[in-house]
Symmetry: D2
Subunit: 489 residues, 4 copies
Amino acid sequence: APSSKLLIKGGTVVNAHHQQVADVYIEDGIIVAIKPTITVGDEVTVIDATGKFVMPGGIDPHTHLEFEFMDTVTVDDFFSGQAAALAGGTTMHIDFVIPHKGSLTAGFEAYEKKAKKACMDYGFHMAVTKWDETVSREMELMVKEKGINSFKFFLAYKGALMINDELLLEGFKKCKSLGALAMVHAENGDAVYEGQKKMIELGITGPEGHALSRPAVLEGEATARAIRLADFVNTPLYVVHVMSIDAMEEIARARKSGQRVIGEPVASGLVLDESWLWHPDFETAAKYVMSPPIRKRGHDKALQAALSTGILQLVGTDHCAFNSTQKALGIDDFRKIPNGVNGIEERMHVVWDTMVESGQISAMDYVRLTSTECARIFNIYPRKGAILPGSDADIIILNPNSSFEITAKSHHSRLDTNVFEGSRGKGKIEVTIAGGRVVWENNELKVAPGTGRYIKMSPFSYLFDGIDRRDDAYLKSLQAPVKRAKSSS
Amino acid sequence: APSSKLLIKGGTVVNAHHQQVADVYIEDGIIVAIKPTITVGDEVTVIDATGKFVMPGGIDPHTHLEFEFMDTVTVDDFFSGQAAALAGGTTMHIDFVIPHKGSLTAGFEAYEKKAKKACMDYGFHMAVTKWDETVSREMELMVKEKGINSFKFFLAYKGALMINDELLLEGFKKCKSLGALAMVHAENGDAVYEGQKKMIELGITGPEGHALSRPAVLEGEATARAIRLADFVNTPLYVVHVMSIDAMEEIARARKSGQRVIGEPVASGLVLDESWLWHPDFETAAKYVMSPPIRKRGHDKALQAALSTGILQLVGTDHCAFNSTQKALGIDDFRKIPNGVNGIEERMHVVWDTMVESGQISAMDYVRLTSTECARIFNIYPRKGAILPGSDADIIILNPNSSFEITAKSHHSRLDTNVFEGSRGKGKIEVTIAGGRVVWENNELKVAPGTGRYIKMSPFSYLFDGIDRRDDAYLKSLQAPVKRAKSSS
Amino acid sequence: APSSKLLIKGGTVVNAHHQQVADVYIEDGIIVAIKPTITVGDEVTVIDATGKFVMPGGIDPHTHLEFEFMDTVTVDDFFSGQAAALAGGTTMHIDFVIPHKGSLTAGFEAYEKKAKKACMDYGFHMAVTKWDETVSREMELMVKEKGINSFKFFLAYKGALMINDELLLEGFKKCKSLGALAMVHAENGDAVYEGQKKMIELGITGPEGHALSRPAVLEGEATARAIRLADFVNTPLYVVHVMSIDAMEEIARARKSGQRVIGEPVASGLVLDESWLWHPDFETAAKYVMSPPIRKRGHDKALQAALSTGILQLVGTDHCAFNSTQKALGIDDFRKIPNGVNGIEERMHVVWDTMVESGQISAMDYVRLTSTECARIFNIYPRKGAILPGSDADIIILNPNSSFEITAKSHHSRLDTNVFEGSRGKGKIEVTIAGGRVVWENNELKVAPGTGRYIKMSPFSYLFDGIDRRDDAYLKSLQAPVKRAKSSS
Amino acid sequence: APSSKLLIKGGTVVNAHHQQVADVYIEDGIIVAIKPTITVGDEVTVIDATGKFVMPGGIDPHTHLEFEFMDTVTVDDFFSGQAAALAGGTTMHIDFVIPHKGSLTAGFEAYEKKAKKACMDYGFHMAVTKWDETVSREMELMVKEKGINSFKFFLAYKGALMINDELLLEGFKKCKSLGALAMVHAENGDAVYEGQKKMIELGITGPEGHALSRPAVLEGEATARAIRLADFVNTPLYVVHVMSIDAMEEIARARKSGQRVIGEPVASGLVLDESWLWHPDFETAAKYVMSPPIRKRGHDKALQAALSTGILQLVGTDHCAFNSTQKALGIDDFRKIPNGVNGIEERMHVVWDTMVESGQISAMDYVRLTSTECARIFNIYPRKGAILPGSDADIIILNPNSSFEITAKSHHSRLDTNVFEGSRGKGKIEVTIAGGRVVWENNELKVAPGTGRYIKMSPFSYLFDGIDRRDDAYLKSLQAPVKRAKSSS
Ligand SMILES: [Zn+2]
Ligand SMILES: [Zn+2]
Ligand SMILES: [Zn+2]
Ligand SMILES: [Zn+2]
Ligand SMILES: [Zn+2]
Ligand SMILES: [Zn+2]
Ligand SMILES: [Zn+2]
Ligand SMILES: [Zn+2]
């Protein structure tokens, strides 16, 4: 059995707030000490990290494992998806529980089952797709008993997951009262539906029709709407998969005026562009189909820039893996191509290369936006997202002088394709430690089903700090009700 | 009988594109000549305009006469409202036909009847409040046979006039195909409904609750949404009653990127502020209740600035006159206060004083935004909106050195109140000529029911120029469909 | 001798404010009548314009003929440049008088001489490149006696034409007092100088170094600065050659807040992109060198969009023609490549094709931004810029179904190159009438030196309307000086 | 002698990245441990912090002690100013060394002397007010040997400190090469000079003239200019005393596009408004004179909002204390009123009350923007700005349930006035510990001259991370020089 004591020697230990050359000592899955020099006995496994970065394992805030969607189910389940994640330096993810026939409880139970094979820690968001008293009560149950502190609302997927503004407002109010974070998939679903019909009428049935049917203006619209309604309710908002300048600009505007809005770009949106959807080979083109779509060149750079200065806060993936045979369901109609791209395994490498190697951010920033900020938002910091005494020993060792290459041939997801196929770059994650165990080393995975833990997440994260005071200040500012004589004029 | 021949001598004749000192000769209701010096016989009535401005009569693009709304009906009908208009220098208006139980045809017929007593020229917009094949066919009928070239969609008034995005998109598409201009009342109705409930729960039942329940952010939201959906459909959009910086900024942004969006501030929004709604006297406060609400000080100046440089294009009133007794329906609940303020009589004076006297715009600009641009948008220029040979003889004479004062005691509307009560300023409209007849002179009105004409308005105004070419260019730009082998991969 | 009486029959007569099918009758160089049908005698030359557009001749607000610059002189003088203009449908231009050794008077006299060979009407702006009492007095002289109503200030060309903020402020104040329009060439000259040094240090000596040394951010900076200083002085501002999104955004922002700022894109900036400067053939690359530089793809479309909605107001060319041999002065150092591109002959075709054919603007808009707005800004409307009775008979006939092609082989400029080489499009100017004479017909020019007239331009154009009132309002708003006891505290 | 061992028990220990209830143990001026429960011997002084916040002492990034300016010298020197600071919870400040007759070395020596009486730790920025080889060399010396890592450039104070764009560019380049942070006082000095003359001409000689002569548009201009020139040079920029929406918007815009710009609002600008300058009592009005001026109501709230979401990063004071008698130098001419307000003592209370009590930020945010971010920017984190093992024991204990009141009667500055006079709020700093010694407790100060240390600050803070890589990427992106045959065409 592997030792439960580990010493990582001589690396540059990076937290979001500070980095230093130090040793890190781990016992029983917990970080015990970080000091310039730690001496240990023989029973301790020592890993040399000289010249390398020792950082908190990645936390992917946005994944869909074993997701039943569009009449099929993703190929990556909680084992294969997590194994891939670990091979890529991600040691925790937060998946979206989808209600079962509208029932949150049934949905939660289904996901509990799916997650039994977990080999890495995970948490859950939950989607809300309809509204009644039961849903409202179940939301409360989820927060108070089940460890969920975020709910997602879909403004797209008309006829399926989409909800209208009335429900969105109800949901925002409920979230606020529970201290749970409201999340939105922001595209105008009515208009997307129109756009899809139009493309089909024009004879555009291929993957390029997917992008053309849901342009960035529709993402900008829904983002603007969700932000303003959240402002109206005075509750924090998390915008998932920010794919366009249009959406980013709305977030920037809201933040400038003091509103608490979180924007999550995803790995694919940060580095790819839509031109792939025009590829003459259907299989190649179809693998890039996700919603909102990957945008034209230019959006990627703008998202990177906004991320580098904190206008956007963290990076997800929306990992949602459909194989070529599944993508082929839409060979004659892009509307039937299952939406989703990979990323859970690639995110950490892609972000390092694109953001740090290019000089846009520091290693500390990297930790913040791949791990720490996610932990803070979902209220599990500093257990997760930090290398501090007492934190879970979820750690990666990245060699900045080594190289990575991404290809479906060697990746660990079950997917037969990869949207980052052929990408190379500097900064290789050579070791992943999850819960104090070395699970990835020498390009080898050592994982076992059932070793991952469900991480309960408490409500009222820092995003809720002071909200009640602001509500009070608002009420005082109203100068109402005005006292009036019931005049008989 | 009054002479049908008129000569206006020595004034500064102002068109939107040019002004010059000239005489204007009129016969049989039509402008015949504008020349430096015109000599006429004794049979011609001569009006001396030396030192004064001779300008096209105002056209109010936004009024509600004899409007059945909120369980009552406005006090100004097509006679009293128009008489007031003429006394204030407005010689034409465009009113909103409201469908009768969803039927456009029935609505149109009802308004035809109401308008029989007209004493001034008028046109019609039409509201669309539901959607089915009949409505679609009736829209076509209205445009092709009834002289209507604009349709209005309400994004507010939940449970009554409000429509959802799906209908809005259908409406936009239909408008585009007919060459009719889509108009929106832009407030998020779902959120307004929430806001109203909240205010009542807070015990805020007075008129200030009206403003508090529907803040500017909700107007900004709906304006942004309507603009982006219109962009998606590629059809021109007209935003009625732009009341806030939030909405104006959205219009500015869209125009900067080349989108054809028209923004209409109204007289009340340009010069008043919300503080009246906090007035301790209910009657006083209630008269300022309109939707979207009059905003905080600062919005007015920003709207004026945007108007002065063409970011906003024309000024309306939303004249919708409810008496004190009607307003009192909401004495215990602001939601029951009939929405509406006056303005049809005051607009021309208020805009002159606020915009020209202050040095923000020229007299030519004044003509453009009170008359010419309205005529151009609704495709009746240069019959209306100009002092050119062949134009209808709808003319005002404004004395820039004379003063006006506004008070319910002396105004011509049937209202017992006036939101501009006590306003004074420079620039008095001393003469109004409508259809070649002097109807306002020496502070006396000479009007007769039935003398006003219905002005049919043709579709495909200048706002539609080139839309087909832009659609073509868009289609070419798609590079789709991509030719693909039906691969057997 | 050609008849001095002309009738243009059956065309669509387009003014900025209106278009109609009509005949246009001309006598002695003046437009006499525009009517649906005009019957004339045999002595009148009749031109059939059926199916074509009859429009005011173009006015180019920005040219440099016989311009001594960078140790050489442009190849197009007042004859050849104007002849080219007429062949391209432009019937007037406004050139920039450059002071002679700082003397405005000497500069004016030099340009009077240059212009003796004029074959078309012209006006003058004047540059101000230093500051003292003499300059101040000469500005007054120019406005009051010489027919100049605009002065240009260069924020670039360090060591040559560039002035600093202190002078700019003095100039703005003087302009305001004279009712003259302040114009700026907006680039930060200090930074450009730095950029040039850096490129040379990097070994980048070719034409691409020109673009790289003065990026758009420096144009945005200077535009922002000039706008804000003009706001501080409260005087209107005209920004010449707006080449970038950066500059356009500043103009848009200022206009939104009510400031009177005019933005002039130029033909080259509207349709070309910088990639030509990277062309491996020096001669080809060098012909695109102008300042500010032509920008990356994307800026062009954004400028077009802003132009289409009136955020930018008119189109110039900055026609400044240097031959290949002159451009070769900079073969070893881009700093020595004479700056300038052609456009005086191409502007009208390029703008029609790019803006009207593409559906972005109407024919009326086209007239406005190629002719009318220029005439209004420089206060010569409606003598110029309109087809109205009494206007100068400067008229073009454009056949929308005919095609044009641009090539140095057949153009009328003396240049041996053309930056629009090979451009084709729809909309051919088949006839140009200048001062009532047909000077261009059947692809033939009939022009004679000395037939062009100097058009004096009066100060206090419409842009100055109300400025004194706004100054008054500003002063009242200060609530100052505050009355204070000279306290002995 | 007081014990050099301290234990702070039971408080909520707040760092920028995390807060927890814990004990803090200190020895010899250094923080040794932070743990839930620490047990100590009798020799250790124990401070009970139950129910209170234990936070890093404030660091004021912007002060002027013993500053010779406008023919006088500030009343607070390095002893009195620092004593006041400590009483208000600030344990370090960074002052501005002003060159002596242009000599940086001489300036530094003068400030070394002034600082001998220091009772608290301090660092230095240095101003650069002219340019030559000597200055360039001295900058290098300051960075490499003297512990200075930031240089300030004044775009205002014409004829005194002001520099032009040429020098600014030289300065930026030098800063970049040294890894030193460029700072700017951003107002357009030429225009300010004009504005001052104008006010005097208008007879406005009182303090209100100060605000009127240098409106926000001039701050916006200079901020935009400095940002763009810094972008051109690709070096980080720090904008001191951001006082207006105009400046803040520029910073927001730059950050959105990925530029590293730091914005520092100051205590006075965050909570006061300009109306005081209109006060009829000269003494009262004059105490609010600082540059850039305190702005109209509205700017304050906008700055607070931007600060709350990280658009602005930290809070300073520009503490620059002139007594009533000194302010009276300008009794007849506001230009002679010494510019400056207090704040070094009040900042920590004012920011807590305005930002935390109002619900706009969390306690962690408070630590970040009053202390941590300053330490990070000036590269002294985590020695300063954190409560971590090894950090200097600069600590405050704030009681959120206690109240503060600000008045000149009881403050510790030598000033006879206070711009925050009469302010009350919640959140009282009850204990200040500096370098491990309790210097403020029970409203009593225990300080001694000479106990403060000069903190050297190293260059190349995190703001410089990756700059070289971005330069490399930029160079690669140029695709230049283009290889060209020296053609003989
Ligand atoms: Zn989604
Ligand atoms: Zn997703
Ligand atoms: Zn309405
Ligand atoms: Zn209405
Ligand atoms: Zn120029
Ligand atoms: Zn030029
Ligand atoms: Zn300063
Ligand atoms: Zn200072």
